[in-house]
């Protein structure tokens, strides 16, 4: 039953490859809708999987899954108009890859087996590679090449890490299935040294995919070259999937009493990522790269929060959800910018408030949200992370954290003001049709509501997810 959720898009994707012309578009929305329905069903029922030792419904998985399918549904609506407005050759490959991408990501969220998780994550790389190459330009080719190679290398290391965890089992003499859940139960028995080594490899491996500095190098290229709906997916949910792998491993570490080790590593890498993001946000010239680096920043924040634990871990999950919602909306908006102004440089844009008022609302709200300003949810997430970090006593770390947040805000705000209010080099004559703005509004609205009211079931799920790594309050 559980497997159905990723089999449906898999089949649809396979189908889409053979649907020529624009006939694939409705399939996109249709699959999105079905997928959303299935995920909601999964959320409510929490059924058993057919292959329980490979797949399973975990709270963190469910969280990512529900976000994925909500995003995909809205993005698929947006894509209709986007495809109509922008010239994309061989659309069937695009739609097909989108669907396969969805299916693989779903698989990540549902897989409970270490190796299966690895397979799924590697599969996401392969499925998303064609998306990045959609524009068929030299730059996009380079981006794809870097994306595939760097991610494959990184993820290969993650495979080694997974293997090393089995070594830890051998050495520790633990009899267990290779599933995260059972490993977490038996974590005490695992050999600590090999477990640490395994975690290091997995962190670097999946960290490459998640975009943690210094392994983030592929991310800005890929996100800026891919067409906006794809970037929205890449930045919105793919990073979460990679994070899921690290999160689950971190759970094992905590259960094995090595939480201090893994937590510190997470904090350090989180800070590195935030600093790297600050470096490139300050003098950024392309708005999509700007957003990409902002994703790196937020991944850093999330890693930081996870490492801090306690209140911070809760905040990290909140940040995870809200970052997906807001960042994907921002990437969709960047699609509008591209359609409207035709250039990808920040200097090509301007005076959004007059040229494209509706897009302006989405853009500026997204900017405010991503910078952690209420009434959007990242604010509350960052609040908890910072308070949690102080509570855990990481004074220096949180000091750096705050300073780099200041720098990033200064840079990002400068670009946002530039895009929104400065004189525009050209006048836009693009019609802001409903489907080009309402998906963003929907995402932002969700984030806004979740900032003030979280349904109890969602809250319980988050708590279940973080209690094992000492999250909560």
């Amino acid at each position: 039953m559980v497997e159905l959720v990723f089999i449906v898009p898999l089949v649809a994707g396979a189908l889409a490859f053979f649907m020529l012309g624009r006939s694939g578009r409705p399939l996109l929305v249709l699959t999105g809708a079905v997928h959303l329905a299935l995920s909601v069903y999964l959320w409510v029922k929490r059924p058993e999987a057919l292959f329980p030792d490979y797949f399973g419904v975990t709270p963190e998985g469910l969280l990512s899954l529900i976000v994925i399918s909500l995003l995909f549904f809205l993005i698929s609506i947006y894509t209709q108009t986007y495809l109509a407005r922008s010239a994309i050759q061989s659309e069937n490959i695009f739609t097909g890859s989108m669907l396969l991408f969805l299916s693989t990501m779903t698989m990540v969220t549902l897989s409970d087996h270490i190796m299966v998780m690895w397979i799924a994550i590697e599969a996401t790389t392969l499925a998303s590679a064609p998306l990045i190459y959609t524009h068929r330009s030299a730059a996009s080719l380079e981006a794809t090449w870097k994306y595939v190679l760097i991610c494959s290398v990184g993820i290969a290391l993650a495979l080694l890490g997974s293997v090393l965890i089995t070594v830890a089992m051998d050495v520790g003499g633990v009899e267990s299935a290779l599933s995260f859940s059972s490993l977490t139960e038996k974590a005490r028995g695992l050999d600590p040294t090999w477990l640490k080594v395994g975690f290091v490899f997995i962190l670097v491996g999946y960290g490459t995919k998640m975009g943690l500095a210094p392994m983030h190098t592929w991310l800005p290229d890929a996100h800026s070259e891919a067409p906006s709906p794809a970037s929205a997916l890449l930045s919105g949910v793919l990073l979460n999937c990679a994070y899921l792998g690290i999160f689950k491993t971190h759970k094992i570490m905590v259960a094995a009493g090595l939480g201090g080790f893994s937590g510190m590593i997470l904090i350090v890498f989180g800070l590195l990522s935030i600093l790297a993001a600050a470096t490139f946000i300050l003098r950024q010239t392309e708005y999509k790269r700007l957003l990409a680096y902002s994703s790196i920043e937020n991944m850093g924040i999330i890693a930081f929060g996870t490492g801090v634990g306690g209140l911070g871990a809760y905040g990290a999950i909140l940040c995870l959800i809200h970052h997906s919602l807001i960042k994907s909306s921002l990437f969709l908006t960047s699609g509008n910018l591209l359609l409207g102004f035709g250039g990808r440089l920040i200097s090509d844009t301007g005076n959004l408030i007059k040229e494209m008022p509706r897009t302006f609302v989405a853009f500026f709200a997204g900017f405010a949200g991503i910078s952690g300003i209420p009434p959007f949810g990242i604010f509350i997430g960052e609040l908890f992370i910072i308070l949690g970090a102080f509570r855990a006593g990481h004074y220096v770390a949180v000091g750096l954290f705050l300073l780099s947040l200041c720098v990033i805000f200064g840079g990002f705000a400068h670009h946002a003001m530039r895009i929104s209010f400065e004189e525009s080099p050209k006048t836009v004559e693009m019609k802001e049709s409903i489907t080009l703005v309402w998906p963003q509004y929907g995402l932002l609205l969700t984030s806004l509501i979740l900032c003030f009211w979280i349904p109890d079931t969602l809250y319980q799920t988050i708590i279940q997810a973080v209690t094992i790594i000492g999250g909560g309050f």
Binding site: V116, L126, A156, L159, V167, V171
Partner: protein, 213 residues
């Protein structure tokens, strides 16, 4: 050196040196293919109980690692008539020396820990480590994109060697999934290589440095 496994593994180590020294892609591909064959055969020697599934799986692995993957790279070269040079960043002799040093280091390093089950295979762990690092080395020290892909495959072989010998628990279906992933990955890389060749008329990665800050 009383184990047959060690005998062929030493050949693998040699192939690493060979791949470091070889200036031409086809020979590099041959080396990688050889490594693929060997690492997929190793589980037979390492004394796991040989179930039917095990044997079949070993053959499938052999097919993919030893033949399919090198083949599709070779095809890629053939199709687009790529220049045969690997364009080293680090020269061949330096690479050779580095390879020797690497092997020595790997052996010395693997002395550190004795692992249950494979204690008697002196060269197993060194070879795995050597393959891993050698792949990394090729990835970093060769400008030619294809050489880099081959480096990636070498890495994968190394990891497989570790995996196949330690994670006895890992179900074959999972192993197979991994294998498929690798295969698909290499295929996609091959496609990209062809596209690179068509757009840039060369696979020298020096041309792929436009995206930067």
């Amino acid at each position: 050196m009383n184990q047959p496994a060690d005998a062929i593994l030493s050949l693998v180590l040699l192939s690493i040196l060979f791949s470091f020294g070889s200036s031409r892609l086809p020979s590099l591909i041959k080396a990688v293919a050889f490594q693929g064959i060997v690492v997929s055969l190793v589980p037979l020697f390492v004394g796991h109980e040989l179930t039917a599934g095990g044997v079949i799986f070993t053959q499938v692995t052999l097919l993919i690692r030893g033949i399919l993957i090198p083949l599709c790279i070779y095809m890629a070269i053939k199709k687009v008539r790529i220049r045969r040079e690997v364009e080293p960043i680090v020269g061949y002799h330096a690479s050779m020396l580095a390879g020797l040093a690497l092997i020595v280091a790997a052996i010395a390093f693997s002395r550190k820990f004795d692992l249950p089950g494979i204690g008697q295979y002196a060269l197993l762990l060194p070879t795995a480590i050597a393959l891993l690092v050698a792949g990394m080395f090729l990835l970093m020290a060769r400008r030619n994109a294809i050489a880099m892909v081959l480096g990636y495959i070498t890495m994968e072989n190394g990891i497989y060697l570790v995996g196949a010998t330690f994670s006895v628990r890992a179900q074959h279906i999972v192993e197979f999934g991994i294998l498929l992933d690798v295969l698909a990955g290499v295929m996609i890389m091959a496609v990209i290589l062809q596209n690179i060749k068509q757009t840039l008329d060369d696979v020298d990665t020096a041309l792929l440095r436009t995206l930067k800050e």
